[in-house]
Amino acid sequence: MASEVEIRAPVRTRRPPRRVGLGRINLEIRQHVTPWRQALVLFGGLVVGLVATAVVLMTAGVGLPAIYDEFVVSIFSSSMSVSAVLIQTGPLLVVGLSAAVAFKVRFWNIGIEGQMIFGSIFATFVAIHDIGPEPLRLVLMLVAATLGGMLWILIPALLKLKLGVNEIISTLLLNYVAFNFLLYLLYGAWKDPKSAFPNSEQYDAVERLSPIGWESVTWALPVALVLAVLCWWLLNISRFGFLARFVDANPRMAAAVGIPIGTVTLTAALLSGAISGIGGFVVSAGIESRLTQSFFLGYTFSGILIAFLARNNPLFAILVAAFVGVLFVAGQSLQVFYQIPGAMVQLIQAIIVISVAASEFFVRHRVHWVRRSA
């Protein structure tokens, strides 16, 4: 038998390259990748994504000059539109951090929206029942939101750790459960009698994140920035971050040297849920000033996108969140002036993720194009 195998498949040091048309493509795995090369290739992927975006927008009937106008000129021409971007950046950064903390330990939290809903529900409960003294009200709402988000991720986190239930599906399914519970409240006990829409009553002035004094930017942004720095410390400096990196790099090895993988994963998941809860609070108290039935829409994917593009680095996430904020604001004005449906922003985000993810191939592989010799 052994000799037969040898005859059929002689040991070769190199596999034959693939043949494609006029030449052949040789693939080689890079053993070492410099950060610069990685950054360059990913930037290239981003550019390809933006070009694809421009093509999609042009087929939808927006001319190239108009695209340039909406995405670049009008964003940076007035302090009002810069503030509009910054207002979007706050919650986007928070959900990006939530995703980054979870992804750092390979916990795929796709339930950011559900956790935002429960964060906001808890915060709104504090607001509606006027719990605590007024100067502390916002802090109490923040704490409540943290607990709400944490509670909602506790179920999938425990199911994963105790039973091995896939967290991608469980966190996602709980989004739908949370959404229906939100509707139950908004069409029932919490409905504002003064409004025709299914909203809660408006928060009192002390229950809203007030403006910081420049344009209409609220305290949501500083809260998000502080959170980013805290997350950076947690993931890159603290002992917990070291353990998390270990779990991420090689779970089996981590278990072998006695790192409590369960505790590390559970902690990261609960933190992720808590941060998502804060994200809900930041939208409700910072932008909408009440609980609505759609305040959370689209944040899960934006969070994933931000964490993915920022390589789970909380400080890079600030930049990426601002970039996504630009997309959101430009998308809104495209909606108003060119009747482009809001779904376009979602499509653009997906295109960018796809092109950047695809570009990673060129980070890890060296591609040779070999002309066919005669």
């Binding site: 498949a9 596999r15 693939l27 080689e28 795995i29 939808a60 795929w108 796709i110 199911l159 039973l163 091995g164 239930v165 896939n166 991608i168 599906i169 469980s170 996602l172 399914l173 709980l174 739908y176 459960v177 229906n180 519970f181 509707l183 139950y184 069409y187 029932g188 994917f301 994933i304 993915f308 449906p341 779904a343 376009m344 922003v345 979602q346 499509l347 653009i348 985000q349 997906a350 295109i351 993720v353 796809i354 993810a357 695809a358 990673e360 191939f361 890890r364 592989h365």
Partner: protein
Amino acid sequence: MDFLVNWISNIPGFAVPFALASLGLILTEKSGVLSLGAEGFMLMGAMAGVGAVIVTAEPLLALVVAALATALISLIFAGLVVALRVNQVIAGLAMVFLCQGLTSLIGAEEGWTSRAIVGLGILPIWPLSDIPVIGRIFFRQDIVVYLTVPIFLAMQWMLNRTETGLKLRAVGENPEAADSTGVNVSLYRAGAIFCGAALVGFAGGYLSVAVARIWVDGMAGGRGWIAIALVIFARWHPWRALLGAVIFGGIEALIPRVAAVGIQVPQYFMLMTPYVATLLVMVWAALYGNTRLDEPGALGRPHVREERR
């Protein structure tokens, strides 16, 4: 009694989307590719199906269009995970959001959104359809319901009795070994993604063309995710997936009927039941029976030929 017959005769229509979608997912995942894009693929099929009905007024043709459109869009996914070896979780999620954005955009641009259509009609099988009770449950359904069991039979046969099926499973269990025997891993995986997505898209098309008879944004409503959970519950066995689909079809068919009979359950808690039930099913699957044993060995792992193990 009438309530019971009414309920049971509605189950097949609700069960078929789950059944065909999970069958498509089983096909893809048997090749070792984790397909998280199901929700997006169902939306694609649903939107394309309604669009095709509006353009051609042919519901059956529309289902074919739904399958083809979804298979086409799945080529992006195939390119990402097979050729470029992108992380399959990221690629799958990106596909969901790409399809959500794309379907919502096309639906709005073409004016297909919220427009009632003439759907797929029922096809009574004459002498049998007049049998009381049984006739109504089994022989007054549309053609896709009748075809579902044969489709399952064909898939079971293909996977377990043909060389193609054998190679496909080999690619999913151990791509390196399959590669060394000369099986083209990339081709098999891309093919499994393409055909699997076509089935999922067909299921989505059925949902909009035969069940809802309308297209609205995000109308799959998590059914793609439930189908993914069903595949895990079924441990990649087609017949168990069919059983799961019937259970979930039963739950879905029950929701509108409970309120109609006058049982007082808050509406929104009723609407939660499919998702809670899915979660319970996953817990049950985790408690009883080791899922890992039946999972394709290389599920979610890209095949990197240049990397020697």
